[in-house]
């Protein structure tokens, strides 16, 4: 039972549940069975709460009957990235230093899932503290790309994207600091949204770089992600940077009417360094958007060469400060080898953090240290302002910008970590969006000759989610059903 459910979108599943055609517990059982089948090859989850999910399914079923849960995803099984706090469920950021941390509270985004009757199956793997682009910096396990298990799923929300791509869950939460939702979405052939900074409360999101971090949805199509974003959005007094926004309703936009919409492609995004197949995917997207009535043209965005330096200085600086709290006193790992307090701090951190996290803490400490602060950190903040201005100019002329989500398809496992700088450069198309606080969506476009998905990215001006969702919906309609990760023969079957 349940085989055919798995390929449905979260919205389709919820409709069947509302009509009483399927029980939430059947959906949960189907997901758990799929997890059992796929996990040995994929490894998307760090933790699966089998009993909790099944018990919750019963409650939710009653809640749907009584009218308590009327939202668009009531009864839908979902997964949550491991840097988002879940009450009583271990939350580690895939780091040794947080092993054994059971948050006494839910993140705001998790509260919203629960209030909507969404059933949390478990926590997904990620790069340690979201620092990485492949999910390989996880201290816990290697996650594999469901399209080809010799390749990475991307990162840092690689577990959430792989879980959605492998139909182990219907929708998931990720977080995006420099592309961590959009790039793995592209690598795994799923859809992901990074909202305007401040749209989703960061309360309970374990901070990496607070001025850049946003939680967002990862799903099977644009409609699922748009509706999930409506559900997650909202001002929260526990996150003083969260914005008071109009209710986000995308139903009209999902019709995909983009007649008259002006789309710009930064020509820097088509320059050297980009895989020809990714460039072709962009050209294909351009044609589709034109067919749907948008005007599309290339233009010079400018300042793109300063994105990676500025991003990595700011993100590392904020990380070095945010991660100072992990000292072995209040939660997680404590080194058993220390006799004095200071030794305990130092040994706990030395043993608890992985290589990439240490590298970024060192880099952050360096750029903030006296003598270098002005030349690096302050300069990066100024560059950030200049980059934001470049986007302001672009959005004076265009409604939406089109670009790649990553310069190439998912790399092979084991290829990326040896050269950190090279890995950082892969964030070129995504990190600028975080620096400028913009919303962006990654949508699967096509499959490469080697059989790996290629996604495209649509970027909007601040608070203009409606426009990118409209463009993404238009593109998706014209593109048609995107193939499944685990080959056509298995489609719809488990």
């Amino acid at each position: 039972m349940g085989e055919e459910y798995l390929t449905w979108t979260a919205g389709e599943l919820a409709r069947k549940i509302r009509k009483g055609e399927i029980r939430p517990s059947e959906a949960v059982e189907a997901s758990l069975l799929q997890i059992e089948r796929m996990e040995p090859q994929i490894g998307a989850f760090l933790q699966i709460d089998r009993e909790g999910a099944l018990a919750r399914a019963e409650e939710v079923e009653q809640g749907i009957r009584s009218g308590k849960y009327q939202g668009p995803f009531a009864g839908v099984p979902a997964a949550v990235k491991d840097n988002i706090c879940t009450k009583g469920m271990e939350t580690t950021c895939a780091s040794r230093i947080l092993s054994g941390f059971y948050p006494p509270y839910d993140a705001c985004a998790v509260e919203k899932l629960k209030e909507a009757g969404i059933i949390i199956l478990g926590k997904t793997n990620m790069d340690e503290f979201a620092m990485g682009s492949t999910t390989e910096t996880s201290a816990r396990k290697v996650t594999k790309n469901p399209w080809n298990t010799g390749h990475v799923p991307g990162g840092s929300s690689g577990g959430s994207c792989a879980a959605v791509a492998a139909d182990e869950c219907f929708i998931a939460l990720g977080s995006d600091t420099g592309g961590s939702i959009r790039q793995p979405s592209s690598f795994c052939g799923v859809t992901g949204i990074k909202p305007t900074y401040g749209t989703v409360s960061r309360y309970g999101l374990i901070a990496y770089a607070s001025s850049l971090d946003q939680i967002g949805p990862i799903g099977k199509d644009v409609a699922d992600c748009a509706r999930m974003l409506s559900l997650l959005a909202g001002q929260d007094r526990r996150d003083s940077t969260s914005l008071k926004r109009e209710t986000l309703d995308f139903e009209e936009d999902l019709a995909g009417d983009i007649r008259g919409m002006k789309v710009g492609i930064p020509k820097e995004y088509l320059d050297e360094g980009i895989d020809p197949e990714v460039r072709d995917a962009l050209k294909k997207t351009m044609e589709i958007l034109k067919e749907r009535g948008a005007s599309v043209e290339e233009f010079s965005l400018g300042m793109t060469e300063y994105v990676i330096p500025s991003y990595y200085i700011i993100a590392s600086a904020e990380a070095s400060s945010n991660l100072a709290r992990f000292d072995g006193v209040k939660y997680g790992y404590r080194s058993p080898h220390a006799d004095s307090l200071h030794e305990m701090y130092k040994m706990t951190r030395s043993e608890g953090f992985g290589t990439e996290v240490k590298r970024r803490i060192f880099l952050g400490s360096f750029v903030l240290s006296s003598g270098y602060y002005d030349a690096y950190y302050l300069k990066a903040l100024k560059a950030r302002a200049v980059i934001k201005e470049a986007f302001d100019r672009a959005f004076a002329a265009y409604d939406v910008l089109l670009g790649p989500a990553a310069p190439q398809t998912a790399p092979k496992i084991g290829e990326s970590l040896s050269d950190p700088l090279q890995m950082y450069l892969g964030d070129l198309y995504t990190a600028a969006v975080n620096l400028a606080g913009l919303p962006a969506i990654s949508v699967p476009c096509t499959v490469s000759k080697a059989g790996l998905p290629i996604g495209i990215q649509l970027i909007g001006d601040c608070l203009q989610e409606k426009k990118i969702i409209r463009a993404a919906a238009a593109f998706e309609k014209e593109r048609g059903i995107f193939p499944k990760a685990y080959s056509g023969t298995k489609r719809g079957k488990i």
Binding site: G100, Y102, P104, Y105, Y197, G198, S211, R237, S240, T241, L243, M303, E305, Y306, I308, P309, Y312, I313, S320, A324, G328, V329, K330, Y331, G332, Y333, R334, A338, D339, S340, L341, M344, Y345, K346, M347, S350, F353, T355, K358, R359, I361, F362, L363, S365, F366, S369, A375, Y376, L378, K379, L381, K382, A383, R384, A385, K388, L421, Y424, G437, C462
Partner: protein, 96 residues
């Protein structure tokens, strides 16, 4: 940018970061940092005269609330996560 003495810098960064590295890790990290910082020097060429540093996208102001303790009932649940505790408090190694 001025010349950096990497041996001293790494020691200083260990203090700032409260992380000690092995000799081998130190060499490797210094090597990576040099490469990364060399790339970041690209920012030098960008003219930012008169540009205000942007630490935040929106001009958000401080958000205040009344100074009232909330969720005091979580005391025990919070303490539950401590690696070591004693009599309702966090226990740490001797400090003096």
């Amino acid at each position: 940018m001025k010349k950096i003495s990497w041996d001293e810098t790494m020691e200083y960064l260990e203090i700032l970061s409260q992380i000690s590295l092995t000799e081998e890790e130190k060499q490797e990290t210094a090597g990576e940092l040099k490469k990364i910082l060399a790339y970041m020097e690209k920012l030098e060429e960008l003219d930012t005269d008169g540009v205000e540093p942007m630490s935040h996208v929106f001009p958000v102001q401080n958000v205040f609330r009344e100074d009232i303790v909330e969720r005091e009932d979580q005391w025990e649940a919070l303490l539950e996560n401590a690696p070591q505790k004693k009599e309702g408090q966090y226990l740490v190694p001797k400090t003096v």
